[in-house]
Subunit: 145 residues, 2 copies
Amino acid sequence: MSIASLLPLAMTAATLGEVPIAAAVVAADGTVLATAHNEVEAEGQATAHAELLAIQRASAARGSKYLEDCTLYVTLEPCAMCAQAASLAKIQRIIFGAYDPKGGGVEHGARLFQQPTCHHAPEVVGGVMEAECSALLKAFFQQRR
Amino acid sequence: MSIASLLPLAMTAATLGEVPIAAAVVAADGTVLATAHNEVEAEGQATAHAELLAIQRASAARGSKYLEDCTLYVTLEPCAMCAQAASLAKIQRIIFGAYDPKGGGVEHGARLFQQPTCHHAPEVVGGVMEAECSALLKAFFQQRR
């Protein structure tokens, strides 16, 4: 799994009218437990972000509420909801694509994992293939104007 | 709807081995769109918090991702995940019971709605029936020791 290999799934989301963001949860042995793209429009749910869906599907696939050995890959910096979801599920590591100064909650805004009350802070690697991930989002929003 | 009327639902959660927290989403006209208690154990999902479930069920009931006229009632201060979920769904107001200095994300920790990047900050009324809501939680955790 890699951020690059998530880009086609993010593009699929765009063709469905969803904001092009894709995520995956991968176990320590490389097993892809779940993938998801944004489903806000399809589900009519403001909370149907790719990361939250991927975490929930990974827990379902594994039959475990905790995903302690897992890495969450996502094409955009998670918002505070998804970051806290990853913390609650004890995700080990988050690798994300584009930084999100307006909506991100990891390296921006709430900076959730840097709060003294954060019980479990995943390792974070941000800005992977930043240009490609953010180009996808820019193209999507430009087209909608 | 009131915090008091949510206490029996929180107690039901405790009898099922769930942390006793209950939530409801209520429309401006008083219609209760959804109620939920924590379902972390039953669902095997770390993210199955009462508030997130109530918001998702309310959106499903109404067929709308936005709940702009709605109030979220919950017996405990929401965590950052649930607070951000309420913001994403454009919940108008949050009324909560006990403050949660360790896990809360509204008046503690990330203080999500006070971040300059918060796009929609619901009104907040906290500490309603604080003693009763927090007694329920304390009794639950004492019994489990």
